[in-house]
Structures are given as structure tokens and as C-alpha cells.
């Protein structure tokens, strides 16, 4: 009897070769690809010293769908629905960027009403993207569900607008070369005005909910600081760059579409930390509301598609073009080379969230594992666009 007890004790005792303390040893952890906070199938190989991140290696490619190769195989028009699937939160912006580069390539003019509709839809996309991003970010910080549901309630109204106009909530496939596919009737515009007018009320409530919250401040301020120099040299764009205080917005720099006609400001951050990135989204939504109010007041009836743009057998002349827009996540560009055929010779996407992700290691070094999730959330990635 006593012999048996002794044996069990001996089995429970740790083997002598193993060190009983892990202090000073680095531990490599694979976070993802099925981690709930990585916003999709994204993996990070994190080397940890206790709780502190010492090394971080992002691993991409779990959602690779050969987008660029498909774009070179299908016709110019056929790539349009595929662009919806890049950043599936902002299909309208993706459509616009692709339409813009093909219009540049083929020299197609866009009628006035279509340009206004494009601005309206792109800004509505920005509203719903930023609102849901703030919700997701809070969800990553531990505010499970509630803020995300408030954000999704607003997003749902905008998605209903998209559905009633383009036929689908997320895969809109709305823009065409030289215009838009369906005209918005007066009911739709009235509905959009109603949503835009009520949006500031939601923003007030949401800002009250989060921005003064001590836990949010403690979790985000001085976390994941990005310097302006590093941001510029790494090619960071969008709200992440502006949070560092760099005044660069393609809407102002390029003045594509009808953006020069509208009066709006570009919010700029100061510290480049996670809190500034979060605030940048809240402030940008207010400016988007201003743009939307002006655009919805100025829009006039007219043609929505250039009659010269062919839908069947579309062949742009030989040449190359790069069209870029300020997508909600940053500068989204499409680079096309045409050899005169029905499909592009080269089709290349410049995805904002992929390039913004390249500085992830620099942001996370020295912070804890829990902060990695907050920093990753504030970068605003969608894996459909990162992996393509």
C-alpha cells in the first residue's frame, strides 16, 4: 500500500532535467490564425519574455485567393465584382478605385450626377467602416458586444441603403466605367439625408460611451506609438498616418472626383498612439457627415453613365494607369497595364491595410500580449484585402 503511494508521488515530481523556473527564457507563441481578435485568418509568431513582446513576425497568406492573377485573366468589367471581395467592408470604395484607374486608362469622362453619387457612397462607406472599427476595437479591449452592437445598428442602416440601391449589402458591384449602374431615386436620397442627419446623434452617444472612459484611456494612450518618420518611410497611409500628425489625405492631395467642391477638414493626431488612431476615426466620421450633407444638397438630376462607355467588348488603348483614392483604411490604388486586349496585361492592387500592417512589429515591441490585440485592432485590417 505504502509502496504504491510512493510511486505516485515520484511520478508527480517534475523530472530533474527540466528547470522549474522559466525566468529569462523567451517563449515563442503562435497567435492565430484562428484567434478571435485577429480579424480573420492572420497569424503572428510572437516571442515573449513573460508578458512582454520581444519579437513579432506576422504571417500572411491564409486567405490568399489569387486576386491579381484572376484580374489578369478576366475582362476589365469582370474584375469589378472581384474588387468587392478585397475589403469586404468597403466595396463601394474599392469599386471607385478600380473604376477610376480604368477610366484613367481609357480616358472616359464621368457625368456629374455619377460623381456625386460616388462621393456620397464612398463617404457612407467611410462612416460604416469607421463605426464598426471602433466597435471591434472596443470588443478587442474587452467591452464585449455592447459598443459593437451600437455601431452595427448604425452600420445596418447604411447597408440597407446600399442594398436598396445596388442590390446587395456588402458585395455592391455598383460602379461601372464611366458612371454608376443604377440611378438613385428621390426616396433613396431622402433616406440617405435622414440617416446622415441622425448620424451625429449616434456619434455623440458613442463618444460619450468610449472616449472619456478611463479603461479605454489606460489601454490606448501611449500604447503602440508610431513616429511620423517611420510612418512616412514605411508608406503608411490613411488615418494611421494622420494620427502621427502628417497631413496627407488623397482627397486633398489628388482632389479626385468632386472632392475639391466640398468644404471639409482633415483631422490630425499628435502622438501617433492607439488613442489618437481611435480618435482619428471618430473625427473623420464627423467630417464625412459634413461632406455628405453638402453632396446631398448639391446633387442634381442627370445622366449617371457616360453613353460612350461600352459595356460589352471593352478594350482600352495600350498604356498604363494608376488610380488611387482615399479608402477608409488608407490609400487604395489599382495599377493597370493594357496591351489593347480585353483583359489587363498587368493588374496590381495597392492595398492600404497590408502596407499599414508592415509596421506592426515596431508598434508592439515592449508591450504586453493584451496590447498587441488593441494595436492590431487600431491598424484596421481586413484579411480579404491583406491577402488578396
Amino acid at each position: 500500500m505504502s509502496a504504491t503511494v510512493q510511486t505516485l508521488e515520484a511520478m508527480e515530481r517534475p523530472p530533474v532535467t527540466m528547470s522549474s523556473r522559466l525566468e529569462g527564457e523567451l517563449l515563442e507563441v503562435s497567435m492565430g490564425p484562428q484567434h478571435p481578435s485577429t480579424h480573420g485568418v492572420f497569424r503572428m509568431n510572437v516571442t515573449l519574455d513573460g508578458e512582454i513582446v520581444r519579437k513579432l513576425k506576422p504571417v500572411f497568406g491564409y486567405l490568399h485567393r489569387n486576386h491579381e492573377q484572376i484580374g489578369e485573366q478576366t475582362t476589365y468589367l469582370g474584375s469589378m465584382p472581384y474588387t468587392d471581395r478585397l475589403d469586404y467592408f468597403c466595396s463601394m470604395s474599392n469599386n471607385w478605385a478600380y473604376a477610376l484607374s480604368v477610366e484613367k486608362l481609357a480616358g472616359i469622362e464621368v457625368p456629374e450626377r455619377a460623381e456625386y453619387l460616388r462621393v456620397i457612397l464612398a463617404e457612407l462607406t467611410r462612416l460604416q467602416n469607421h463605426a464598426s472599427l471602433l466597435g471591434f476595437l472596443l470588443s478587442d479591449m474587452g467591452a464585449w458586444g455592447t459598443p459593437l452592437m451600437y455601431a452595427f445598428r448604425e452600420r445596418e442602416k447604411i447597408l440597407d441603403l446600399f442594398e436598396s440601391l445596388a442590390g446587395s449589402r456588402m458585395m455592391c458591384d455598383y460602379m461601372r466605367f464611366g458612371g454608376c449602374r443604377v440611378d438613385a431615386d428621390d426616396n433613396w436620397l431622402a433616406g440617405a439625408r435622414k440617416i446622415v442627419d441622425r448620424f451625429p446623434k449616434f456619434l455623440d452617444e458613442f463618444e460619450e460611451l468610449i472616449l472619456g472612459n478611463e479603461i479605454v484611456i489606460a489601454r490606448t494612450q501611449n500604447v503602440g506609438k508610431l513616429s511620423a518618420d517611420l510612418a512616412i518611410s514605411a508608406g503608411i497611409t490613411g488615418p494611421m498616418l494622420r494620427a502621427c500628425g502628417v497631413n496627407y489625405d488623397v482627397r486633398k492631395v489628388d482632389g479626385y472626383g468632386f472632392y475639391p467642391r466640398f468644404k471639409f477638414r482633415i483631422p490630425l493626431g499628435e502622438h501617433g498612439d492607439t488613442y489618437d488612431r481611435l480618435m482619428m476615426r471618430a473625427l473623420e466620421m464627423r467630417e464625412s457627415v459634413e461632406i455628405l450633407k453638402q453632396a446631398l444638397a448639391q446633387i442634381q438630376p442627370g445622366a449617371i453613365v457616360n453613353p460612350k462607355a461600352k459595356i460589352r467588348a471593352f478594350r482600352p488603348p495600350v498604356g498604363e494607369a494608376y488610380g488611387r483614392i482615399e479608402a477608409p483604411k488608407g490609400e487604395l490604388g489599382f495599377y493597370l497595364i493594357s496591351d489593347g486586349g480585353p483583359n489587363p496585361y498587368r493588374y496590381r492592387v495597392r492595398p492600404p491595410s497590408f502596407i499599414n500592417l508592415t509596421v506592426l512589429e515596431d508598434l508592439c515591441l515592449g508591450h504586453t500580449v493584451a496590447d498587441v490585440m488593441v494595436i492590431l485592432g487600431s491598424v484596421d485590417i481586413v484579411m480579404g484585402e491583406v491577402d488578396r
Partner: protein, 206 residues
């Protein structure tokens, strides 16, 4: 004071919680299988083929020109053209699709087939409860399942269907007038002056 931000935030959640009993704006959930929100007219899901008249196969507007098959980005349409011609709903001899399959497990509902069709033969359906017991054959829709009457199209998209009918009637009238002026048996053309397999078709991609 520390904690006021959290209390304010809790005030917002309390306002939403209590408000959801009184304000319709704050409670937008639709209890799906029991209640349904109406689909907008522009809603699209998967394509179907339109026929006129009583007989689905005789009245099919499709003339098997294969433009949609060529333009479909995920290549989910498969058409075999007929060897013979048979009169369509207007009495003109036309080719017809011997086989017309759409694999709805591949289709991505992009509506490009509808836009490129010169004969208004293919339109987008609104049916979305399409779960099937079997993966391969049940998701491949054949010509017989795809054919739906023009009245069905009027039922789901009244405005658009009326526009299409007016357009087709105008084209038929113009064709009849042209025929009367020329007084010669010209080649039957419905909507476009170019033939279905003419210059509009792009060569296969390299």
C-alpha cells in the same frame, strides 16, 4: 474624478436598454423566420431565364448567343447552342439553348450577365432560401429550373419589368415598321442591329 467616464458610459448603455422598450429606432431586430423585412426592388440574388407565353421551353427569350457565358467572371454559366432554329414567342426562327446550366455554388450574384444580355432574357431572382440536401447536382440549376415566366418577373421587379416590356415592344414595333418599309424578309433581329455571334464577341483570352 476617476470613474466618471465609466459611469457616463454606463449611462449610455442604460439609456439604450430602457430606450429599446419605447423607441423603435433603438430596437431594430427582425425575428427572421417569423417576420421578414421586405426586399428592396433592386435586390439581386441568382439569375433566371425569362419566357413569354405559356410554354416555358417554346417562349424562352434566350437565343443562345453565349455572351453571358463569355462575360461571366467566375464562369458559372454553361450553354450548348441548338443545331436547328425554332420560332420564338414572336414567331421568328431563332436558335435556342439546348443546355443552359448555372452553377449557383459558383455564381457570385454580380449581375454582369444581366447587363450584357442584348435580348433581356436573363434577369436576377430574389429567392434566397436555397439550401439544398446535396452538394453537386442540386446546386447546378438546369434550364427547366431556371425558366420562369415574365409574370413572375413583373411580380418581383414591377418597375424594371415594365421598362423592359416597353423597350421590347418599341423594338418589335420598329422592326415591324422596318419590315413593312423594306417589304423584304430581312434577317430576324430583335433588339440590336448586330448579330448575336457578330463583332460583339471578344476572342478567347490568351
Amino acid at each position: 474624478m476617476i470613474g466618471t467616464g465609466i459611469l457616463k458610459g454606463m449611462g449610455v448603455t442604460a439609456r439604450n436598454f430602457v430606450g429599446s422598450y419605447f423607441e423603435k429606432e433603438r430596437l431594430i431586430t427582425v425575428q427572421y423566420p417569423e417576420e421578414r423585412s421586405p426586399l428592396p426592388e433592386n435586390y439581386r440574388n441568382f439569375p433566371f431565364l425569362i419566357y413569354d407565353g405559356e410554354d416555358p421551353q417554346a417562349g424562352l427569350r434566350c437565343v443562345a448567343c453565349k455572351i453571358c457565358e463569355k462575360e461571366c467572371p467566375p464562369q458559372c454559366i454553361y450553354i450548348v447552342k441548338s443545331d436547328d432554329k425554332k420560332p420564338d414567342y414572336m414567331g421568328k426562327p431563332q436558335f435556342y439553348p439546348k443546355v443552359f446550366d448555372i452553377d449557383i455554388s459558383v455564381c457570385m450574384s454580380c449581375q454582369i450577365c444581366v447587363e450584357v444580355c442584348p435580348f433581356e432574357a436573363i434577369k436576377m431572382d430574389k429567392e434566397f432560401e436555397l439550401s439544398k440536401r446535396e452538394r453537386f447536382n442540386h446546386l447546378l440549376q438546369r434550364k427547366e429550373e431556371l425558366s420562369k415566366p415574365n409574370e413572375y418577373y413583373h411580380g418581383i421587379c414591377p418597375t424594371e419589368a415594365a421598362d423592359v416590356d416597353a423597350k421590347l415592344a418599341a423594338a418589335a414595333e420598329a422592326a415591324a415598321k422596318k419590315k413593312a418599309v423594306a417589304a423584304a424578309p430581312a434577317a430576324p433581329v430583335l433588339a440590336k442591329p448586330t448579330g448575336p455571334t457578330g463583332s460583339t464577341s471578344a476572342p478567347a483570352s490568351s
